[in-house]
């Protein structure tokens, strides 16, 4: 800062200081933060985070201080530099997959290598034959081939069967001809494709002698390995800027009768006999839904953590920010009140804090279920290896009820978890008032980057249909007495068994009754939907909204059930002290009862509770729980252990120096402040300073007038 501004250096925020306020917050609670953090994540994982953080912070390439100021072109080039350096580091330090993934999470932005590691390598590995592993996977693992997974098209996303790109078998020269017959066949949204990848796994409609066999995967070279120019008959590029996710080069791809040899069709499961041109499918079916289910489980697991970032920032800030005196104290000498003391702020933030734990435990529960299934299937099929991290795509074995149960579960929970996290982040941002709108809050960009999760891997509204379909099927089988035994059929049976008695759930005193009320509501909505569909013969389309409500209810039940089960688990009880358990229990009740009051009309309509119970849930339970949890809020978010470096947030700093940090970024880091505007209507836009050093910033342009 120039010397004539020395007086600025001496300025401090008016007291009490943010750092003192956060200290007070931490002093007023006994919560054992370290113990809770270790229970949530394991000590090994936390130590890994510290180790990786030290490595990343030491390197200039990962420095975040200009992130918020740069435009897309700079951001994406920085992201590419970081992606390369992460790859180099992972080779140098022999990082495991978890370490590599965690390093990326600390960087906190998608990079142009993103889909190479996640989708390209995984698909080659899981859908390729040993021969294809030699041809493609090896080089891809060494980053000699950089690839992507090209499925979605301009005209087709959710309806994969409608893909327009074709792969036509040519018996004469034993090739496939990949072709984009229409503009809408253009691959679109393909991560890592836009500028980076030289290879792609292209999903295309397999055609043999004019007959179509559905979408299959083909390895296609996209760019020259030396010049990196697109190959002939390939038109590829970046699809343009997005609401967020701009550090990724999502790309488009058009193919004009590009030939690939027979061996390029990934053939572990389906293949074309090169001699006869006959379509072959192996006899032991495998699960195609496996990958989807796995990815959806990971989305649920991450949702808690994604939301927790926003909750951490908002909670700390709302403990620092003071505004107005409480109306009943007006005129007294006490200063302004911390906004976290206002119940209107608590009702928005603390249920979200509870949701982070609910989602965390639910995601863990799903993962356990998924891995158990993988083991069982490996036993059954003798095919999928246990060392697989469970990412293999496997076909759904008709009649495998547990898999069907898990698949439906994962659809509904993916939808609920990602919606909860995305919408929760915006609530957090808005709870930060005016300053929440600044990029320095760190919430806006995080939210914008997370938002596509509500659309990809199955549009959330679309997915709810699948859940409804499954629940209707289960209900039919229950009514017919042919149902398998699983959680879903159990709750349906229970509902039917009490048809003539109704429900009497003591939701405000009994946790098991509280969970059971959620189950009851789900069962009620299921049988209502079944009546509309099977008895009233309503069209599927006319019931979509009911199906969405039903799926949401079912998923909310699963979350409440999983949270409750996690707290009841002996492992949990032995790992945590009674105070922590008690606090988690309050969070469980807050989550369940606040959900109940928000969904009150369905709890009435299903007669799961009375009107009075809902009123009391609000006034006597939820409002009281807010009061009880609030003193521990700062320690609870501390337990999520987000390093300041990861959050990159003025409002969410561990030390509470909100205002100092905002001022520093605005006054010292902001390149726009090196640019002097000429404000008058009839002159140019900039005041020219020939002798002024522009510090390498992009400044100055001729006036457009």
């Amino acid at each position: 800062m120039p010397s004539n501004l020395d007086w600025v250096q001496n300025l401090k925020p008016s007291g009490p200081q943010g750092s003192d306020l956060l200290q007070q917050e931490r002093n007023q609670s006994n919560l054992d933060v370290d113990k809770l953090a270790e229970f949530l994540f394991t000590k090994e994982c936390l130590d890994r985070q510290d180790k990786l953080l030290n490595i990343l912070r030491a390197e200039k390439v990962f420095d975040k201080s200009q992130n918020y100021f740069n435009g897309r072109n700079e951001r994406i080039l920085d992201a590419l530099s970081r992606a390369k350096r992460l790859r180099q580091l992972s080779v140098q330090h022999a990082w495991t997959q978890e370490e590599y993934q965690m390093a990326n999470e600390l960087i906190s932005e998608p990079t142009p290598y993103g889909l190479h590691a996640s989708m390209f390598l995984v698909t080659l590995r899981d859908q390729g034959t040993p021969e294809q592993h030699n041809l493609f996977l090896e080089k891809a693992q060494k980053y000699e081939y950089i690839g992507c997974y090209a499925q979605t098209e301009l005209g087709h996303g959710s309806n994969v069967r409608g893909l327009e790109t074709t792969a036509t078998w040519n018996q004469e020269d034993r090739t496939f001809i990949l072709h984009s017959p229409h503009l809408t066949a253009s691959k679109w949204w393909i991560g890592s494709l836009g500028r980076t990848a030289n290879y792609a796994v292209v999903m295309a409609q397999l055609k043999i002698n004019s007959k179509s066999y559905g979408p299959h995967p083909f390895v296609v070279q996209i760019r020259d390995l030396k010049t990196h120019e697109p190959l002939e008959n390939v038109h590829v590029g970046d699809i343009g800027p997005k609401f967020g996710y701009n550090t990724m080069d999502n790309g488009f791809l058009l193919l004009n009768r590009v030939k690939v040899p027979h061996v390029n069709m990934l053939a572990r499961f389906s293949s074309v006999d090169p001699q006869t041109g006959k379509y072959l499918r192996p006899s032991s079916p495998s699960l195609v839904y496996g990958t989807l289910t796995y990815v959806r489980s990971t989305i649920v697991m991450q949702a808690g953590s994604v939301l927790a970032r926003g909750v951490t920032i908002a909670t700390r800030y709302c403990a620092v920010r003071r505004q107005f005196q409480d109306r009943d104290a007006e005129g007294s000498d006490t200063g302004e009140d911390q906004v976290l003391n206002y119940t209107m702020v608590q009702i928005r933030l603390l249920p979200l804090l509870a949701a982070t734990f609910a989602l965390h435990f639910t995601g863990k529960g799903m993962m356990v279920l998924y891995q158990e299934n993988q083991k069982r299937m490996a036993g059954d099929a003798g095919k999928a290896s246990d060392t697989d991290r469970g990412a293999g795509p496997e076909e759904l074995h008709p009649g495998t009820d547990l898999l069907a149960d898990l698949h439906a579960t994962s659809c509904g929970l993916k939808a609920l978890a990602s919606t909860t996290a995305a919408e929760g982040l915006e609530v957090c941002r808005r709870a930060c008032g005016g300053h929440g709108y600044s990029s320095f809050s760190g919430i806006g960009s995080w939210y914008a980057d997370y938002l596509p999760t509500t659309t990809w891997e199955g549009d959330n509204y679309m997915l709810t249909q699948q859940v409804a379909r499954y629940l209707l099927k289960s209900a039919r089988s229950v009514l017919q007495g042919t149902a398998a035994d699983n959680d879903t059929t159990r709750i349906l049976h229970h509902f039917l068994a009490r048809q003539d008695m109704g429900a009497a759930f003591d939701v405000l005193t009994s946790d098991t009754d509280l969970v059971a009320a959620f189950a009851w509501r789900t069962a009620f909505l299921t049988f209502e939907a079944l009546k509309h569909r099977d008895d009233d013969k309503k069209s599927w389309n006319s019931l979509l909204v009911d199906f969405w409500r039903l799926s949401t209810a079912h998923s909310q039940y699963l979350v409440v059930k999983n949270f409750h089960a996690a707290l009841d688990d002996p492992m949990t009880k032995s790992s945590l002290d009674p105070e922590t358990l008690s606090l988690l229990h309050k969070l469980f009740r807050l989550h369940a009862l606040h959900t109940l009051e928000r969904e009150a009309s369905e709890f009435f309509a299903s007669a799961a509770t009375t009107v009075r119970q809902i009123q009391l849930a609000h006034t006597k339970a939820v409002m009281k729980l807010l009061e009880e949890i609030r003193p521990h809020a700062v320690r609870l978010v501390d337990a999520w252990r987000f390093p300041d470096w990861q959050l990159d947030s003025s409002l969410g700093r561990y030390d509470g120096k909100v205002y100092e940090d905002m001022f520093y970024r605005a006054s010292e880091l902001n390149p726009l402040n090196q640019v002097t505007f000429d404000p008058y209507p009839d002159s140019g836009i900039l005041v020219r300073k020939d002798e002024r050093e522009t510090s390498g910033q992009r400044v100055g342009r001729d006036s457009k007038l």
Copy 2:
């Protein structure tokens, strides 16, 4: 496009074409779009829009084609160029205030001149004496002084009484000393200040002989009029990037004992006697709330239009986008279904379409009320002139019930309208599925720029307290028999009068009963809140959530009432044909009944309706209304008359050429596609092309490795 890509030029989307689909949509409805548009906006206004559009489209400076691609620095410099050109044009064409404002709306981005025109000029005019008009306003109107309104600080937004900047009277030299005593006193968020303004009206705590008189306005020069450098003892700059609104230079301002002469304190209402140092306040009180009320009325009016942009885009796109066949038609030869046919899409979009009209009519209603009040006050006070566009700040005359009623109304409606518009825009964006996430959808950036409206001019949650306070006061006066007669007291009286009989609203057959049910619910919640506060003596803080619910209920009632009244108005009935009226009536019912079903638990709890009525509202009314309105959806959004140039959206083009437009922008306009990445981990990030022309794009950087 290079010639080896000629094959790309020949590609078209697969049929049916978007343009044909939109044509079919327009063919299947008889709605007279022009007549409705003229009714909503007046022919004069629509003609004005056409005229201005032609002027703007002809000038290169207003070209939008690179908007989405540019980083903040380029965007804001472009915006400054545009602001200057708009000023020149407004002088050249002698534009009225409406024309200037409309031209800005067509540009659709805030510019660095924004707060000069809206707040600086208005404040000088309304709070300045004739002498001050000569000294400051004249030059400001000629854009020799470019100014802003510096009220909000780093530490204080909503609580204006807590501002920390001081203005201390110095009797010796008849000056005020403006000073920022703490870092948190720094002005923050001040539009047009960051790089542009050379003057500011600074709100500072007036201090005379150690006594504080509250915040008052002071004219302060910030920058040198020639060099445009900050003056001595002034630290000013841009506060950095934001979630949106990045074409505005919101600024910070710190003052180190800056002296201004006595005449710089705007003195129309309050002043300091320069001889004695005595604080003077004129005898006829004036309304300080006037400006706030006016601004909030404009926010309500605009909210409908803001939301309608998103609804226009999403409706047209959902009529073009096809995905899956309706499940009941699967296997038939009909192609994939337009997503607008899915009830799950209709339930999200069509109530928002209804809301655009509800908000439009409500905003109009508020404006009428405001202007009537202005006339009445001009009569009373003899002070405020009728030619004022009602923007004068005037003190609230104690006991002026109509003003109090309007003030409370404007608070609650500002909160509801801005929340409805902001959240509705995100629903629209998400309804566009994957492509909704592209900047080319035009919704994301529009939403991001609109979002602060939920926080500024009164944080929405804060404002609901003021509404609740007013409703409680009204309820007390009703119970005591001392109430004035206005709409609020009438609905409270009616509720009390039927205490012993309860309600019997035939909401599904009678519009007046439907409106009355909303009124009943409000009255019920008011008396409940009053009981908690006055009888149970609950703390204000513990009732904040109830107050928020109460304020929301009251505002929802007002919107439904206003919408109903607008349709009942003879003016409306004479301007529109019966078919259009019938359709608007369906939109009214959809708006009211969908709100009712979303707020079901309060309608139960207040016994305004039965559980059964709510169920039927959904299954028999809302779902049926969706079906009836859907065929007219495209024509209805056409009536909002947003030119394609204004929307700048691939998805929302009038002609439905969605895919062609997206592809063109990605393939032809995207500067990132001129940059060739080197993808390998161990090399640099760019492939250097010495002979390649970079077309003036910012390309190339040395590798950071």
